[in-house]
């Protein structure tokens, strides 16, 4: 068969059509609800950020206090909470966001870097903030 005839055959052959999908509406609803999960993730990270911001403000207005001193005081008073907010949450978020970025990178590897940044900027920001929280806590 000649190439032209083969192309003609490809154009003429019937193809399966998707005209009706019963699961469509339920999936649309579930996808839109998925945004609430991102909001919840952000909420977890916002707690340590809020505390650090409060300590920074305290150190600005009270010269005898520094961020490091405030952190140590908090860590000794609220040991479990400090470990959860400043160690476990940032580590978990760093790992989760790293894998998300890796997955998206693999998905759109053929595309321009701007396309990648469009998708990952939020994950990247979350990862950076998590690492920053970890550094502040461990220093």
């Amino acid at each position: 068969m000649k190439t032209q005839d083969f192309e003609e055959k490809l154009n003429r052959m019937t193809k399966p059509e998707v005209t009706h999908l019963k699961h469509e509406d339920m999936l649309a609803g579930a996808l839109i609800k998925a945004k609430d999960k991102s909001a919840l993730s952000w909420w977890w990270l916002s707690l340590p950020i809020y505390i650090i911001a409060a300590f920074i403000m305290k150190s600005l207005f009270m010269p005898q206090t520094t961020l490091s001193i405030s952190m140590h005081e908090f860590a000794s008073k609220e040991k479990t909470l400090a470990i959860l907010l400043f160690l476990i949450v940032p580590i978990v978020f760093s790992i989760l966001n790293f894998f998300s970025i890796r997955k998206i990178y693999r998905t759109i590897e053929n595309q321009k870097i701007s396309a990648l940044l469009h998708f990952v900027w939020f994950n990247f920001l979350m990862m950076l903030l998590s690492i920053l929280i970890l550094i502040i806590y461990l220093l």
């Binding site: 193809k15 019963k22 649309a28 839109i32």
Partner: protein, 185 residues
């Protein structure tokens, strides 16, 4: 309502994404189905495509490509990823919460039966698809978009983000290889 208006509505209230979903879910699902020939993988990949689109839509801006092209681009990359790894698709689909899981799975099962019957009606297509899937992904994507989806070269160039010369050469070599494989049957 055109795409730009809809996009503006989505940026103000993300719930309007359902309108975009209704507009493009079936065509994108059909495109993935005609590339994979497998209902389960299609359902996973289509859900991943739209979940990624939903998460990225607020950053989408009209810079030369339409939302439709952008969705086809995401879907193409998802399908290519599926073909490259040849393994169970680690889908975001499994992470989505459904209030009425049983009903959803019944609907899904129903759609699977209907589409499997639909697929069996097109014998020539099935034979061509079987051979096409043996070619490298770069040929699969251009042939599928051109001959299964009936896309114009201009749109394929936008979806795949390639130059016209590259498309022509991929199509020519791909068709040649596919013809040789189909002639052997």
């Amino acid at each position: 309502m055109d795409e730009i208006e809809l996009l503006d509505k989505i940026k103000v209230n993300p719930d309007h994404f359902s309108e975009l979903f209704k507009l493009y879910y079936k065509p994108i699902f059909g495109y993935i189905f005609r590339r994979t020939g497998d209902f389960d993988s299609t359902a996973d990949i289509a859900a991943d495509t739209f979940l990624k689109a939903f998460r990225g839509i607020s950053h989408f801006s009209y810079k030369g490509i339409s939302v439709k092209v952008w969705l086809y681009r995401i879907a193409t990359n998802e399908v290519n990823l599926y073909f490259r790894h040849r393994q169970k698709h680690n889908s975001l689909f499994e992470k989505i919460d459904f209030e009425k899981k049983d009903i959803f799975h019944n609907f899904l099962e129903n759609d699977r039966k209907e589409l499997e019957i639909e697929m069996q009606k097109h014998e020539t297509f099935l034979t061509v698809l079987k051979e096409l899937k043996l070619l490298p992904v770069k040929y699969q994507e251009v042939i599928s978009l051109k001959y299964f989806e009936g896309k114009e070269n201009k749109e394929i160039i936008e979806i795949l983000n390639i130059k016209e010369g590259t498309l022509k050469s991929l199509l020519s070599r791909g068709i040649q290889k596919l013809r040789e494989k189909c002639n052997q049957i």
